[in-house]
């Protein structure tokens, strides 16, 4: 029983971070209707940036968020303006391939810059644990979770209360109507992509004390982000939040009860099964 | 037994009744016009009949066979074809190849299908455009292509969804002639249209839908006089 609660808890903690990744992806899809297969590479960039700032300047990864998030936001906006935004009229399949190409380019650029060596970011608290309600909890994971919750809350506030946030939601609901009401949809796309990248980079920085950092690490994040978004319904921020938690918990339980190296396989297999039953995701609109 | 029988058909989307208890029949060899204001549920009815939606209540019988719940491909192979309100050309294929795709439901051999396709193109008057990419056609020709393609599947009943929309008077006239010629050759048609003059001219019977319900049914003359129909279209006198 303790084991179950333990893995449930670590699943929730990880799920909070996954939720950030998922929300970033779903925002991009909601606003631009583009499926960004390079999303995981944005997480990877966040990880490397945090590592770089830690090893060169001694910055704690949770503090370097102050730099990582805006940096990734700018990078995302740049990608959107220079590349992705130019593909708006391409076939959706080709748009997907374009983002796959971007992902490949980014992960291999990272390989050229940093080599394929696994990097680790060991802070003073990287391996320390806390006791919470009788369960032991990894300190960095708890910190990551709390920051993730804070960021998510901030995002919800942004989307619900600010003008730009409302404009984004309007664009996501109906691009044409938003345009007709004077919303600059191109600017919204820039903001959405930038936000998505910032969220991804934040997630990367948050897990950098506990993950091996290498150029290909993004791939698994992309796939998991998609699982999250599909489960929660493409374009639904709430759905992505719940989906993130669900994926985190599933993975954690699978690692304990099935096999540690099969945990991702379990997530992907469940994902495929869900798609069989409900091709538009658990919370998505059911097809006739 | 009528060729197509729609009995108490209802289709809900969320709380909205797109079709509410609609019943009517289409007799073999006739043209039945289906009219009504926008949003009346006409295209939804087509979708229910052709298998793109499953009706929530009621049934649809074609040649006595219950077809609601069958897949669109099955419905087509049973002899019921449709055109689309927003035309759907197979853009990167040629005009001829578009129709060949339809004909390949009737025959398995590609050469035979091409002959059938050429014949259907002749019927709608697109023979000289056979090699053109369908995506480049202007709207009038796209509509004719859509007709030819559906005809190529060899239907007994053809559902035509607003084929005259966006056509100039000459094109309109050509298409109306085609529809009349099709009836003369024995085909049965159920035609959604907004062009009332055309409907009056070609229909043997007219069914009027409004807000999902059947408002009236009868000969064109009868329907035009019906007070409720007039109110729905033109507002209270």
């Amino acid at each position: 029983m303790i084991l179950f609660l333990q893995s449930l808890l670590s699943g929730v903690l990880m799920g909070g971070v996954y939720a950030l990744v998922g929300i970033g992806l779903t925002l991009v899809f909601g606003v631009m209707r583009i499926v960004n297969f390079a999303h995981g590479e944005l997480v990877m960039l966040g990880m490397y940036l945090a590592w770089f700032l830690f090893t060169r300047l001694g910055w704690d990864p949770y503090l370097s968020l102050v730099v990582v998030a805006p940096a990734l936001f700018l990078w995302g906006a740049l990608l959107q303006a220079a590349v992705v935004g130019r593909a708006l009229h391409a076939l959706p399949e080709n748009q997907m391939l374009l983002t796959i190409g971007l992902g490949l380019a980014m992960s291999n650029a990272a390989m050229l810059a940093f080599t394929a060596d696994y990097r680790i970011l060991t802070t003073s608290y990287s391996s320390s644990g806390l006791q919470v309600l009788g369960l032991s909890v990894s300190e960095p994971m708890l910190a990551a979770f709390l920051v993730a919750v804070g960021v998510t809350a901030g995002l919800y506030l942004f989307l619900l209360r600010t003008d730009t946030g409302r404009a984004i939601r309007a664009t996501a609901q109906d691009r044409e109507a938003a345009q007709l009401m004077g919303i600059d949809v191109r600017r919204m796309s820039l903001v959405a992509f930038g936000l998505g990248a910032a969220l991804a980079g934040t997630a990367g920085a948050l897990v950098s004390p506990t993950y091996y950092i290498y150029p290909q690490v993004g791939g698994a994040f992309t796939l998991k982000a998609f699982v999250i978004v599909v489960l929660g319904g493409m374009g639904s921020v709430v759905g992505a939040t719940l989906g993130g938690l669900l994926v985190g918990v599933t993975e954690s339980l699978a690692a304990v009860y099935v096999a540690s190296d099969l945990k991702e396989l379990v997530v992907y297999s469940l994902f495929l099964l869900v798609l069989v039953a409900r091709p538009s995701g658990l919370l998505g609109k059911a097809r006739a | 037994m009528a060729l197509l029988e729609i009995r108490h058909l209802s289709k809900f989307f969320g709380g909205l009744a797109a079709n509410a208890d609609v019943s009517f029949s289409v007799e073999r060899g006739t043209i039945v016009g289906l009219v009504g204001p926008n949003g009346a549920g006409k295209t939804t009815l087509f979708d229910c009949v052709t298998g793109f939606h499953r009706p929530d209540r009621g049934e649809v019988r074609f040649r006595g066979i219950r077809i609601n719940g069958l897949s669109p491909a099955r419905v087509c192979r049973l002899g019921l074809a449709r055109t689309w309100q927003k035309v759907r050309p197979l853009a990167r294929l040629s005009v001829l190849d578009n129709v060949v795709v339809g004909a390949l439901t009737r025959t398995r051999r590609v050469e035979a299908a091409r002959d059938l396709a050429r014949e259907e193109l002749r019927v709608v008057g697109l023979s000289d455009r056979a090699g053109v990419a369908a995506g480049t056609l202007p709207v009038g020709e796209r509509k004719k292509l859509e007709l030819a393609r559906a005809l190529a599947t060899g239907p007994e009943l053809l559902l035509v969804d607003e084929v005259l929309g966006g056509l100039n008077p000459t094109e309109s006239e050509e298409v109306v002639e085609v529809l009349l010629a099709l009836r003369a050759s024995g085909l049965t048609l159920l035609v959604i249209e907004h062009d009332m003059r055309a409907i009056m001219r070609i229909s043997d019977r007219v069914v009027v839908l409004d807000s999902g319900e059947k408002l009236a049914e009868g000969t064109p003359a009868e329907v035009v006089e019906d007070r409720e129909v007039v109110a729905a279209y033109l507002g209270e006198p």
């Binding site: 499926v35 590349v83 130019r86 593909a87 391409a90 959706p92 399949e93 080709n94 997907m96 391939l97 374009l98 796959i100 190409g101 971007l102 992902g103 490949l104 380019a105 291999n108 650029a109 390989m111 050229l112 796939l223 998609f226 599909v230 493409m234 190296d261 099969l262 396989l265 992907y268 994902f271 495929l272 798609l275 069989v276 091709p279 | 897949s71 669109p72 491909a73 087509c76 074809a81 449709r82 689309w84 759907r88 197979l90 853009a91 990167r92 294929l93 040629s94 001829l96 190849d97 795709v101 339809g102 390949l104 398995r108 051999r109 590609v110 299908a113 990419a133 480049t136 559906a150 599947t153």
Partner: protein
Amino acid sequence: MLAPPPLPASASAPRAGARAAGTWLAAAAVALLALFPVLVARPYPLHMGVVLFLAVLEAAAWNLVGGIAGQYSVGHAVYFGAGAYAAVMLLERLGIAPWWGIWAAALCAVLLGLVVGTITLRLRGPYFVLASIAAAEVARLAVLHFRAFTHGAQGFVVAEPPVLRLPGLSLTFDGKRPFYYLTLALAVLAVAVNRAVLRSRLGYQLLAVREDQDAAHSLGIRLSLVKNQALAISAALTGVAGAVFAGYSRFIDPDTVFSLTDVSVPMVLYCLAGGAGTVEGPVVGALLLVPVSEALRNPRGLVSLGLLPAGSGVVGFVERHLSQAHQLVYGLLLVLIVLFAPEGVAGLLRRLLRRSRARPRPAPPPA
């Protein structure tokens, strides 16, 4: 006036005369390629040939599902890997010679295709792409995990294929030449299959599905059946490619044969670069991109081909800095192709031909 059309990739596009000329040209090219090993015995050019023909085989296999049916699977490595492992495990564990192993590989891949197809082909757009990637990942992770069965991450070292004894001749598969001919034959087969499908009833129906699935459905096309047929053929060809690859490179492991970036993506890229949905597209794409990728991966090969002087600084530079850069190139190419040449080289050429043909004509008189 409407914008210039997307180019028709329909089966009737080339006229009969042009088609016959194309066939003769292709036959001549194949004959020349077949003569090549007789004239050139050096191993590296033959190796390039094998790599090239395998690429054509894979691209042509993907073309059936992606180019013609319009279902962009980015997880075709699942069939490649399944074919590789099927053939190798039959050889290593049951002593079954690769000549039979290849058929088993194809069968295995087809069965896997039916399973994956049933799950994924009912999905549209991004869901399908995603599910295809997930399927390949599941396979890779599973093969990695069940070590007792598959040797896990260690992979299999493949023994030399035994002598093939047929009535009248016995073939030994040492050296590159036999593989050269085998892969050439398979590449020709795959291209021929593409051609045959494009002209057949199935081809028309697949093209219709690609252009507009709902319209195709309303015209009596059974979507599931038709897509699964394309996938079955595609999977079989891909599985065979995997089996041949295993026999040729003599080593397989899950990360190599189930790889997204080294198997699935190149298949898509070669086909797209040449022109998806056409017969010549996979060939053109492979011809253009394989040399680039090989040059980056193995610059010494350029020396052995006489294209670079021995001891050239370029070799050292590429080896030190760009040896993994072929993936970077794939990524950039994907971006560039989607933005500037989505119909591939074949499409670009056709567009240029059209424009040059259209120019000399005088403007029509005003209506």
